[in-house]
């Protein structure tokens, strides 16, 4: 299923590729580019301030709904300057019209929204895709701008128990399949609950494939079900001596109760996401009858022993059980309930619905003082780890052995590499080692996501030194978050260890720690800009521009050396802070989310691309014309 879709996208990619040529000597004056750049960079700081009043006008109409030419009244139209800060909103009148007055010159994005409709941007090919920015000159009176606002799709159905009774007040989610496959942070398409008849109705959906899942709440969790009939029990009660005292009674009670509960269930009625049937909706379509039967399912208990790095029982350990598959927005109370290990390292995880789980143990949380009392330690001190994969199908699992291993480290220094004066201190930057989901095209998707693997991070000291500890094996990204005082001007130029930039290949922790890392910071920003024009020489905005490293060896899904930008309505595009090096530029009519990160996609772009060179702290100007 997945593979087939990918092939289709790749074929489409070729037809979308525009043949482009470099335009020489058509550069615009430097001022306009620098001004635009400065305006965008300062946008966030100016958030709380009132924008300067201007003289330009931007007016138009919102159309759509079921008929793409019909005006949409009472739509909320939002106009954002530059980076999205300083948004101002209007509501369309009964004829779908809107007008923003008194605008300063600048570059704007325009979006329209209305409940049950699909939020859409001006110039976007379809809802959810990036739009085109609009460049407004001083005193320009731009009218006739049209934003299409299509009606959202609907999925509706009923939740029923095996007894035929409806399941009320239960959250139902529609999870876009693309996101479910991407792993990582899950975004659901809204939160909806079933009513007292068990009926749910999810609306405002973009076209696409969805997993539809019901999430029964805690209040109707597990029930102990009597294995013997009422008549049997009453017959025994009525007999003389039919009320046994302990301990026989206790043993009997333990035997006749088994733990069952409602568990998250996907359409058409499975607790396992991977075998659920996706529900497909077209633009504005209403899918009825997506009924989900909710069954009582036997819950399992997982138990075992965790031992420390030294081989001895490890009581001071945090145990977690994470379902492999779409990470449903479950509360901790609803899902499996792990216990803390006892002094012999024995732990149990109760209330585990069927499915695949990753059992993680992290050393720490609490530790024993010499006198035997408990001492709490923070998660940052939990550096030992153990992981096991477990398949659960209702039966209890015993004897799971977890042996802690020491975590790996990532350490080094943050330092200025730019020509400007370095800040007084690099203290306070957060260096995070973040697990990579399986979101990247071209990477096998059957592998388990790294749910349960936590982000590890450290804060730099005044000299810029940092040490991230407790890293488990896996694929990671390095994120550098600067304190606001330096974050406005400084950016990462390179992250090097043993002479290589770590960002030029996937970062994998497998064989040991990575130390002596240098994170080179710069306040000299690189910029690639230019104007995209059609064969006739008119500005072309209805395109995506992909800028990517010329060297195939640098292509990997997390590379900073690839960017996709859209030109504004005047054809001008900007790509910021690409690392220095040789690049290629291509223009396409459409690019799907994250598609541009795959090597096979970039390979197709190569023949139709043109070369450029990016230098540290310099602006590279490259106008492009479509042949």
């Amino acid at each position: 299923m997945t593979a087939r879709r990918r092939v289709r996208l790749v074929v489409a990619g070729i037809t979308r590729l525009a043949c482009v040529v470099a335009v020489v000597g058509a550069a615009r004056p430097d001022m306009s580019v620098d001004a635009a750049q400065a305006q965008q960079r300062d946008g966030s700081a100016a958030r709380a301030e009132r924008p300067p009043a201007g003289t330009a006008l931007l007016a138009g109409v919102v159309t759509g709904g079921t008929d793409s030419d019909a005006p949409v009244r009472r739509a909320i139209v939002t106009l954002s300057a530059g980076d999205g800060s300083d948004a101002r909103s209007l509501v369309t009148d009964d004829d779908g019209r809107f007008a923003f007055r008194g605008l300063p010159a600048g570059r704007y994005t325009l979006t329209a929204d209305k409940p049950a409709y699909l939020r859409n941007s001006f110039g976007a090919r379809r809802p959810g895709r990036p739009g085109t920015s609009i460049a407004l000159a001083e005193a320009q009176q731009l009218t006739g701008v049209r934003v299409v606002l299509p009606r959202g799709a609907v999925i509706t159905g009923t939740l029923r128990l095996a007894t035929g009774e409806p399941l009320a007040d239960t959250q139902v989610v529609a999870i876009p399949i693309a996101q479910a496959e991407a792993g990582g942070r899950l975004v659901t398409a809204g939160e909806f609950t079933s009513d007292d008849r068990g009926v749910y109705r999810i609306f405002g959906l973009a076209p696409g494939d969805y997993l539809v899942g019901a999430l029964p709440s805690v209040g109707r969790g597990e029930i102990e079900v009597r294995a013997r009939s009422y008549d049997e029990v009453v017959r025994e009660l009525a007999q003389p001596g039919g009320r046994p005292a302990l301990p026989a009674a206790r043993a009997a009670a333990a035997q006749e109760a088994r733990m069952v509960g409602y568990t998250p269930t996907y359409y058409p009625g499975t607790p396992v996401a991977s075998v659920a049937t996706p529900v497909t909706v077209g633009l504005g379509e209403e899918r009825e009858g997506v009924d989900i039967p909710i069954a009582l399912i036997q819950m399992a208990t997982i138990s075992g022993v965790v031992t420390g790095v030294d081989g001895r029982p490890a009581p001071a350990v945090t145990i977690a059980a994470d379902a492999i598959g779409p990470p449903l927005p479950l509360s901790g109370l609803l899902g499996p309930r792990p216990s803390r290990p006892d002094r012999q390292g024995r732990f149990t995880i109760s209330n585990v619905p069927p499915g695949s789980y990753r059992i993680t143990a992290l050393g720490g949380g609490v530790t024993l003082n010499p006198d035997g009392s408990l001492r709490s330690i923070s998660t940052g001190e939990q550096t030992d780890w153990a992981v096991a994969s477990v398949q659960v199908s209702g039966d209890d699992i015993d004897g799971l052995a977890l042996r802690l291993q020491p975590g790996m480290t990532f350490s080094g220094t943050l330092a200025a590499a730019g020509s400007g004066a370095a800040p007084d201190s690099w203290q306070g930057a957060r260096i995070s080692i973040e697990p990579v989901g399986r979101s990247t095209p071209g990477v096998p998707t059957s592998d388990s996501p790294l749910s349960g693997v936590t982000v590890r991070s450290a804060i730099t000291d005044e000299k810029g030194a940092f040490q991230v500890t407790g890293i488990q094996p896996g694929d990671y990204d390095v994120q550098v978050r600067l304190p606001p005082a330096v974050g406005r001007d400084w950016t990462v130029r390179a992250i090097t260890a043993n002479g290589a930039d770590l960002r030029d290949a996937p970062l994998t922790f497998e064989h040991g720690s990575i130390d002596d890392v240098t994170i080179a910071m710069t306040d000299q920003h690189s910029l690639v800009t230019g104007v995209l024009s059609s064969a006739s020489g008119a500005p072309a905005s209805d395109y995506f521009i992909v800028i990517f490293a010329a060297d195939r060896g640098l292509w990997h899904p997390r590379s900073p050396r690839v960017q996709v930008v859209r030109p504004g309505d005047d054809g001008t595009f900007f790509a910021r802070d690409l690392p220095a090096g040789d690049y290629r530029v291509a223009a396409l009519t459409d690019v799907a989310d994250d598609e541009w990160r795959s090597a096979s996609f970039l390979e197709q772009l190569l023949p139709a691309s043109i070369p450029i060179v990016v230098k540290d702290g310099e602006t590279t100007r490259q106008d492009i014309r479509i042949k």
Binding site: R50, F203, I223
Partner: protein, 673 residues
């Protein structure tokens, strides 16, 4: 027999055993002293088994048919812990049976099933009084029958003036309730309209409901708007992730940088700022007194209860708060329709925040008769089924009143709750009436009052020092006598754990008490003491109001606490002399003026359950003059109705309660045989 379960954490086990060694840990459940938590922890890990059994049948109240697959829950000793007190499913004939139960006087039995209200043993429809079940060793109680009732539902469509359905807007049921003898509006369940403009309010108890579409014209000063960051539209490119309701702000006034929040409540027109959709009621009413109520019984489904929204002209209302300079900033100012003050969240026609100097502006206020309330507190009444979603509309009430939320019960009501929200900083309150017509209102002045302080001291058996072992001071609460919760519920002496030695006097101090009439409720926990009298200016505040006029602090309140206990027991018989096996005994004041204006706790009204053997034991009674009467289970909650009390007077016994009361009082239940 007690069995200690294997505990996964040895340290917790040690803590539980340590607590069990102390005699205090054996106090009855619910003891709110320092070791109460440990007592509960011990119970949670301890299970008892015995030789008793309870069985019964669960039936549908409307059809009388047995209910298959109902979940029957039995709460007894050891509840909450893992143990052989399972929840059970009824069989095809609605039957259930619990066996091996220990003797216990307070079993609570209830049944639930999707599509029904949860039902308790001997619950009377509409009156949620849990009757406890007593079981002796070896007893098999076979009549533990439970009746379940189906909730009612009200559905309809909300349309605007062009007939277009309004999507994603809140709709709420309001219900008339009686608090301290006065009728007020309470907030009931709420729902959002779907993409067809349809709403469904389900889970309704029988009663008369007014269906409201709330609509708050929210004006935010620019500074506050910038901080309400979650109001900003989500970033582009995530259309699939959009919530069904977009949120946005319009900048309505460039000069003052005021913004109007739009998108959740019905969206007003752009541009002039001269119109709005005011709150509306089924079918076309615009005020509470014009709205027609929809009456439902169990299981009813009322459809086509539509609401029509209309655009009306609005005006701008501006003014400023006066008072101490340090309390004027960021005070929520609410324009409330007359009669709507008790509704709480989203009850306003318009809402804003004062700026740093205390000035405020409402951009769009529809015509009407209002009360403008400027207060760092908000109180509301909420029925048990009330939703919380209206409080989360941006900026959420938690942002407006960042000090926190407290909630509590109201005596004599069917689980009605008050919901109190407080802001940070000093509590202030200003309230003025406002009639809005077609003209802008300018220079509205709202004086803020900070309230006065009430101080005094406690006497423990006439000693200023609490006795040994008393770890926590009393909690004293002033309750607005007439149930006007906009005065708040000022209290003092929050029960911090005190060092028990040496005994030192406990201060009595309640700050920020607004002008009004109050009744005093003293919470002592279980320390072996009760209130004998509350002395102030020669009067006993147990039997009269504390009147605060705001001009001066109140000093010299003396709370006399006594260790002398009261005991009152008796038997209830029919007029023919045979024992009564169900019903309740009501205690109520002989002073008819005290049948209303008794605050929230109604401490002079008490109920005792009649046991199957016909006996009763009175709960702790506040000193005073009482009528005592036996009533049926159906009538046990009717004491809030003065007319009902009047019917009891002729046959009621009179009782004077004073510290040390110890007597028996046998009663006759009229109308029973």
């Amino acid at each position: 027999m007690r069995r200690r379960l294997a505990l996964s954490c040895a340290a917790i086990g040690a803590m539980v055993w340590g607590a069990a060694m102390q005699p205090r840990a054996m106090a009855p459940a619910g003891a709110l002293d320092g070791t109460g938590a440990a007592t509960q922890a011990m119970q949670a890990f301890t299970v008892q088994t015995g030789t008793g059994a309870i069985s019964g049948v669960v039936t549908d109240g409307a059809t009388g048919q047995p209910i298959d697959g109902a979940i029957v829950s039995l709460a007894g000793p050891g509840r909450g812990g893992p143990g052989p007190l399972p929840r059970q499913l009824t069989d095809a004939r609605g039957r259930f049976v619990f066996t091996r139960l220990p003797a216990f006087a307070n079993y609570a039995l209830s049944a639930s099933k999707p599509g029904y209200f949860t039902g308790s043993y001997k619950e009377t429809p509409g009156i949620n009084v849990a009757v406890r079940l007593e079981l002796r060793d070896g007893q098999w109680f076979q009549q533990a029958n439970l009746t379940l009732w189906r909730p009612a539902a009200i559905t309809g469509t909300v349309r605007d003036e062009r007939g277009e359905p309004l999507v994603g807007i809140p709709v709420r049921a309001l219900v008339r309730v009686r608090v301290a003898g006065h009728e007020q509006w309470a907030s009931g369940p709420d729902a959002r309209t779907d993409d067809r403009g349809r709403y469904r309010l389900a889970g309704l108890r029988p009663g008369a409901y007014v269906i409201q579409v709330p609509s708050v014209q929210l004006t935010l000063p620019g500074e506050a708007a910038a901080q309400a960051t979650t109001v900003a539209p989500p970033p582009p490119g995530g259309a699939a992730a959009t919530a069904p309701t977009p949120l946005a702000m319009t900048r309505e006034d460039e000069n003052a940088d005021l913004r109007l929040l739009v998108g959740v409540f019905p969206t007003p027109l752009p541009g002039s700022g001269a119109t709005a959709y005011p709150m509306a009621f089924h079918p076309t009413a615009r005020s509470l007194d014009q709205a027609s109520a929809v009456t439902v019984d169990y299981g009813d489904e009322r459809t086509d209860v539509d609401v029509q929204m209309d655009l009306v002209p609005t005006v701008r209302v501006s003014g400023h708060l006066t008072g101490d300079a340090d309390v004027l900033a960021r005070v929520p100012v609410r324009i409330l329709p007359v009669g709507a003050e008790s509704i709480g969240d989203a009850a306003e026609a318009a809402l804003t925040l004062s700026d740093d100097a205390g000035a405020f502006t409402f951009l769009r206020v529809p015509a009407g008769d209002y009360v403008v309330v400027a207060s760092t507190r908000q109180f509301g009444l909420a029925s048990p089924a009330a939703g919380s979603s209206l409080g989360q509309i941006m900026p959420s009430r938690a942002q407006l009143f960042a000090g926190g939320l407290s909630t509590g019960g109201i005596a004599g009501t069917n689980n009605l709750r008050y919901v109190a929200r407080t802001g940070r900083g000093p509590g202030v309150m200003g309230r003025i009436p406002l009639s809005v017509g077609r003209q802008d209102v300018r220079d509205l002045v709202i004086p803020l009052q900070a309230g006065v302080t009430v101080t005094g001291h406690y006497l423990w058996d006439e000693s200023p020092n609490p006795p040994e072992g008393v770890r926590t001071g009393p909690v004293i609460r002033l309750e607005p006598a007439g149930g006007d919760l906009s005065l708040g519920l000022p209290f003092g002496g929050l029960s911090g754990s005190r060092d028990p030695t040496p005994p030192v006097p406990v201060p009595l101090e309640i700050t920020r008490v607004l002008p009004g009439r109050y009744v005093i409720d003293v919470g002592l926990g279980t320390q072996g003491f009760s209130v004998a009298s509350i002395e102030y200016e020669g009067r006993d505040l147990l039997n009269t109001f504390l009147v605060v006029d705001g001009s001066r602090d109140i000093t010299g309140v003396v709370v006399h606490l006594t260790s002398r206990t009261t005991s009152l027991t008796g038997y209830v018989r029919t007029s023919a002399g045979s024992p009564v096996d169900s019903g309740a005994v009501l205690f109520f004041p002989t002073d008819q003026a005290a049948w209303r204006d008794y605050g929230l706790s109604a401490s002079h009204f008490k109920t005792a359950t009649i046991t199957p053997l016909g006996s009763y034991r009175a709960p702790a009674l506040v000193p005073g003059e009482y009528f005592v009467a036996a009533v049926s289970d159906q009538d046990r909650q009717r004491w809030t109705d003065p007319e009902f009390l009047q019917t009891l007077v002729a046959r009621a016994a009179r009782l004077t309660v004073a510290p040390g009361l110890d007597r028996t009082l046998d009663l006759v239940m009229e109308g029973s045989r």
